[in-house]
């Protein structure tokens, strides 16, 4: 009988997350008046153009702070905050996302805080806001109803073309991108492996931008990606490390799972400095 290994993993991981993900403690760090929704089309396997898939993200922005997170991650957090003690069985029905990161941009202190959970561990690292060296071009086009202007930059091994609009005088953008005199409407790397596009601008009643209070493991950027890569290289070892155990009827399944993960060979940050 073929074992449902993914569920095994999920249940193992779950048993570790129960302790700290129920009834998340969040604190408000700002108030958003607009929701900016971005659609990301990305190619997780750099060798397979057919692997292109998409995910929706949300940027919540106030004057001094902003938060960028996948919509599913956002929904998951809002549900977890509301329910103090969810039924463990129902945990499985919470939204999941391939993008677990939360990116906080703190304009007051000039830093980006990147947070991501790997299995049950919450990590965070910081990076200065001003890492982007934008060159503003003269090209213009209207994207999704907003007049935009082109700017280019390089970051973490990719060259990006960005289209920003001064109609939304907000120096923010998707992912870590920021620092243009207007909101980024569309940004993509020259290979078009990662394409973020603004799909929704919506005024909302003032809503808290929240940050998890849970203690995070603060680390350097390089160390974080080392841990993350180790997980992708050998997830089973990593899960067993955490004290879980997985048994397979067929070692071939481990290989299939590793192959599956190896198809995610195209992270947005190719070079970590």
């Amino acid at each position: 009988m073929v074992k449902n290994y993914f569920q095994v993993i999920i249940s193992v991981v779950f048993s570790f997350t129960t302790f700290n993900s129920f009834g998340q403690n969040n604190e408000a760090i700002g108030q958003a008046r607009y929701h900016f929704k971005y659609l990301l089309n990305y190619q997780p396997d750099s060798t397979d153009i057919n692997s292109v898939t998409s995910e929706e993200f949300m940027l919540q922005s106030s004057t001094h702070i902003s938060k960028f997170q996948s919509i599913n991650g956002y929904k998951r957090d809002s549900i977890l905050t509301k329910i103090s003690f969810p039924d463990p069985q129902r945990m499985g029905s919470l939204p999941k996302s391939r993008f677990r990161e939360v990116i906080l941009k703190d304009y007051k202190n000039g830093k980006i805080t990147y947070r991501e959970r790997i299995l049950s561990d919450h990590f965070e690292y910081e990076e200065p806001l001003g890492v982007f060296n934008w060159a503003i071009g003269q090209e213009k086009q209207t994207i999704n109803g907003y007049p935009c202007q082109k700017a280019t930059t390089t970051y973490a091994g990719r060259t990006y073309e960005a289209w920003f609009t001064q109609e939304i005088p907000n120096t923010d953008g998707p992912y870590k991108f920021n620092g243009l005199p207007g909101l980024i409407v569309k940004i993509y790397d020259t290979k078009k492996h990662y394409v973020y596009e603004l799909t929704e601008v919506k005024q909302i009643p003032p809503t808290d931008i929240t940050k998890e209070k849970e203690p995070h493991i603060t680390t350097g950027k390089k160390e974080f990606y080392k841990v993350k890569n180790e997980f992708y290289d050998n997830p089973i070892a990593k899960i067993e490390q955490m004290g879980g155990s997985i048994t397979f009827d067929d070692p071939n399944q481990i290989k299939m799972m590793q192959d599956k993960l190896k198809k995610r060979n195209n992270p947005i940050e190719l070079v970590i400095e």
Binding site: M1, T53, T63, G130, N144, H216, I254, M256
Partner: protein
């Protein structure tokens, strides 16, 4: 800081020959408060060509350095929620402050909907299959993989937006439950017109608006009114002649769906596990409703080895299962699931047993040859209505077992034949419904069941002649037994959550009535008198109220359970004039506390009280001959145990260093009102009786585990150790004895991925068991095993594995060794959807396995005859 430098550099590079202009200032709102994040842009005059720009800092300050040969420039200041200011200035360094007026103009709202071969209506997305499927695609799973937002994992699990779907419907019907892979991989995509994704699908409709679901369900719309498809797997091998067959055809129509599966093999694969479903509901039934049949009587069996069944199970199994779903009027659905299993198993081997008594050692050698026949029928009829107003699920289920076992046993030159007929019938009904009472949603659960287990054991020649036949040897004995049970369990529950707290009360009534009749007949017709027969009437009722409360704050998580139960027992054997009546109220608080000291350290502890009562097979007043050398009566009060439990654990995880360590300690102190007395007879037969004498048992295991991952070597190392100590009292040949058992286990594993196409896994396991009776220590038993697996993936679609295992047991007479090796080769022809597999198991034809079991007063050494070396070739295709 660095951005400043970069902008500056940018300005320099763009206009290298020109003089530098620096414009700086402060941006404030109407009240003079500093404005952070405003953009200040220098444009060519009258255009929107940006020369330079800056974003104001937390004090509202900006400073722009640039070079330009123009005499006049435009400076523009923008901030969200404020009016844009544009000024024309001279190209000269200056200080320029801005006070911005607030602006109520809103941003232009947009909402872009992409994607087109996909239509969206409300929460339903529709994908047209023809637009996505490609020529090489065969099954619906292949086509699904190409649909945006949908992902199919290698094991067949379907994800939508990265999370698993919660239902897989075909034409709106859920025939297969969680086993949808069977349909997904075998249903050709050309039979399907449309895939519907039902977002935020709450399978229980009455909860739809109340309990949020973020999972999606998939619905397959078929082109035709009926579709027939399926899958087949055929394997054959030697020696002896082996087969392994699995044929699963299926039929889908709009109102009716069916899936049939026939599986048979004699290669040691126990396919019986496939028809077992272990959902939470079923587990609850097993725990609370004593649904598992009790094996009162048995033939003498060999203890089975602790390694995979494929090495030792001599089987001949046939499994037929049928599933049928029909849609009825008024949104009712009727589902029938039936399975029939026939298995013939053989066991061969011998056991050598040493009984230690305070005065003597008794040795016994038994050669055994057993034939086990299993006939099992399970059928269930489920009626479900799932609408916005009602959730109702009622299952009526029948289970029947007609098992027979024949054992021939040679001990001390005499042959004992044993013949067991073991039947069990159970009919039960489970009702689950969710409804409103005012604003509160209540869950009602009801179980009603009845079962009957007639069992008969015949032994030739008759044992226990002193007890049963005044010391005169006799030919045959027959033990007959019938247990009839009626069981009810009804409960109502709900959950209420307040901030940080949650309460889940449950109220219920459980009631059980059992009737046990047994008799012993010698030589066909001589029925023994009263002391050897039971006519036991057993009634138990429990009224329970359970409140579970949970509390969570900061790093603390506290859970308190405090069930209050009223127990009523009425036990009576009118013939033997024995009776017992108990009315007792128990309170069983259990507190558990978790504390997260840091992201690395975590502490947990729990403590509680628990009461346990005996079951009908733990007290009966007349003798029952359980097997050829075990006759028992437990003429004693109802066993009542009071447990005090404590546990504590510490864990350390450092994911940055890839180190994990934990230690868990458990302690259970049980007070028992009964002490068991085992009489050892000179022929090795035992007689168990229980007498009323308070005694206690201490059980305290401790486990620890350490693991480290070496990223550079792609190697994971795990070490673990456990120690268990048990202390209890027992009466052995009229003397009260304290018995102490000790177990050690040390276990380790190393896994290394050498390359993409080659990885290895090595495991080592050692156990040490010893016991002490009245301060006299008996010899220690050591068992160790080592296994090494090598997996190769030379090319896409090819898989080759070599699996080896070495087992060594230190027995009380000598050491034994076993070495096993298997090879597997698999070829996957993905385009044709065919798998070819070749297996050669037990290459070295290791046939004899010897193992030892230690229990409170004996060592048992078992010799088990294993399966011979065998080669099996399998082909898997779609019908």
């Amino acid at each position: 800081m660095s951005r400043q430098v970069l902008c500056w550099l940018f300005a320099i590079v763009s206009f290298p020959a020109l003089a530098q202009t620096v414009i700086s200032g402060k941006i404030t709102d109407e009240e003079g408060g500093a404005l952070l994040g405003a953009s200040v842009v220098i444009n060519h005059k009258g255009t929107d060509h940006i020369i330079a720009y800056r974003i104001s800092d937390s004090e509202g300050n900006y400073k722009i350095s640039f070079s330009s040969n123009e005499t006049e420039l435009d400076i523009q200041v923008r901030s969200l929620g404020f009016k844009t200011v544009t000024k024309t200035i001279l190209n000269a360094s200056l200080n320029l402050d801005f006070k911005l007026e607030s602006d109520t103009t809103l941003l232009k709202e947009i909402s872009v909907k992409a994607l087109s071969s996909i239509k969206k209506e409300g929460d339903t997305l529709r994908y047209q299959v023809e637009d996505f499927a490609k020529t090489q695609d065969r099954s619906i799973a292949d086509a699904l993989q190409r649909m945006p937002g949908i992902e199919v994992l290698t094991n067949g699990q379907v994800l939508y937006q990265g999370k698993p779907i919660n239902k897989y419907y075909i034409e709106g019907l859920d025939l297969l439950g969680g086993k949808y892979n069977l349909a997904n991989e075998n249903l050709p995509h050309r039979e399907v017109s449309e895939i519907q994704v039902l977002e935020n699908h709450q399978p229980i409709q009455i909860l739809d608006s109340l309990v949020f679901s973020d999972q999606a369900a998939l619905n397959i719309k078929l082109k035709n009114n009926s579709t027939f498809t399926g899958r087949a797997e055929v394997g054959s091998g030697a020696s002896p002649l082996l087969w392994d067959v699995n044929i699963s055809p299926m039929l889908f129509t709009k109102k009716r769906q069916a899936l049939v599966s026939y599986q048979t093999n004699n290669s040691g694969a126990n396919v019986a596990s496939q028809v077992k479903t272990l959902t939470i509901e079923n587990l609850r039934e097993q725990q609370e409703n004593s649904s598992e049949p009790i094996d009162w009587l048995g033939i003498s069996q060999l203890s089975t080895p602790q390694f995979p069944e494929k090495r030792w199970l001599e089987n001949n199994i046939h499994l037929l299962s049928g599933n049928h779903l029909q849609q009825l009027k008024n949104k009712y659905e009727l589902r029938i699931n039936t399975s029939y299993l026939n298995d013939h198993q053989r066991q061969e081997g011998f056991t050598s047993t040493l009984f230690f008594t305070p005065t003597d050692t008794v040795a016994l050698l038994e050669e055994q040859n057993n034939q086990l026949n299993f006939n099992r029928l399970e059928t269930s009829l489920t009626l479900q209505k799932n609408t916005n107003e009602t959730y109702l699920k009622n299952s009526l289920k029948f289970e029947g077992a007609w098992d027979s076992q024949i054992g021939s046993l040679r001990a001390d030159e005499s042959l004992v034949t044993q013949d067991l007929a073991n039947r069990h019938y159970r009919l039960f009904n489970t009702l689950n419904t969710v409804f409103f009472l005012g604003n509160q949603l209540l869950t009602l659960y009801s179980y009603v069941g009845s079962s009957k287990s007639p069992q008969a054991l015949r032994i030739n020649p008759g044992p226990f002649e002193d007890l049963l036949n005044n010391g005169i040897p006799y030919d045959k004995v027959a033990q007959g037994l019938t247990l009839e049970t009626i069981h009810l369990n009804n409960s109502v529950s709900f959950t209420k959550a307040l901030k940080g707290f949650s309460f889940s009360p449950e109220l219920g009534l459980r009631s059980e009535r059992q009737q046990l009749t047994t008799q012993i007949t010698l030589d066909e017709n001589q029925t023994l008198p009263n002391g050897f027969a039971n006519d036991l009437d057993w009634a138990s009722t429990q009224l329970y109220a359970d409140v579970k409360s949970q509390f969570k704050r900061k790093q603390w998580r506290i859970e308190l359970k405090s069930p209050v139960r009223f127990h009523r027992y009425r036990i009576e054997d009118t013939t033997l004039q024995e009776r017992e009546a108990i009315d007792r109220l128990t309170v069983e608080p259990h507190l558990s506390v978790g504390f997260e000291a840091s992201p690395f350290w975590r502490l947990t502890t729990s403590a509680g009280l628990r009461n346990r009562f005996g079951a009908i097979n733990q007290m009966y007043y007349g003798y029952i001959l359980r097997n050829y050398r075990d006759i028992q009566r437990i003429n004693a009060p109802l066993p009542q145990l009071a447990d005090r439990t404590f546990s504590g654990g510490i864990s350390y995880r450092n994911p940055l260093k890839s180190i994990f360590w934990n230690v868990i300690y458990n302690y259970t102190y049980s007070e028992n009102n009964l002490l068991y007395q085992t009489q050892l007879l000179t022929n090795g037969a035992t007689e168990l009786q229980a007498i009323e004498q308070p005694n206690n048992r201490i059980n305290s295991p401790v486990n620890t585990r350490l693991s480290k991952y070496f990223g550079e070597l792609d190697t994971n190392v795990t070490l673990s150790a456990s120690f268990g100590l048990q202390e209890f009292q027992q009466i052995l040949n009229d003397q009260t004895t304290t018995i102490e058992n000790q177990n050690w286990r040390v276990w380790g594993k190393i896994e290394t991925d050498f390359t993409d196409w080659f990885n290895t896994e090595y495991r080592a396991d050692g156990t040490f068991a010893s016991n002490q009776i009245q301060n006299q220590t008996n010899s220690t038993i050591v068992q160790q095993s080592h296994s090494l697996n090598l997996n190769f993936y030379p090319k896409e679609g090819h898989y080759f594995a070599l699996q080896t295992e070495y087992i060594q047991n230190t027995l009380f007479s000598q050491n034994t060794e076993n070495f096993f090796a298997d090879v597997i080769y698999r070829l996957t022809l993905e385009k044709k959807n065919i798998d070819l597999e070749l297996q050669w198991n037990n290459i070295f034809d290791s046939r004899n396995y010897r193992t030892t079991n230690i229990n409170s007063f004996s060592y048992v050494e078992t010799h088990f005859l294993l399966r011979p070396s065998q080669v099996l070739m399998k082909v898997k295709v779609s019908l």
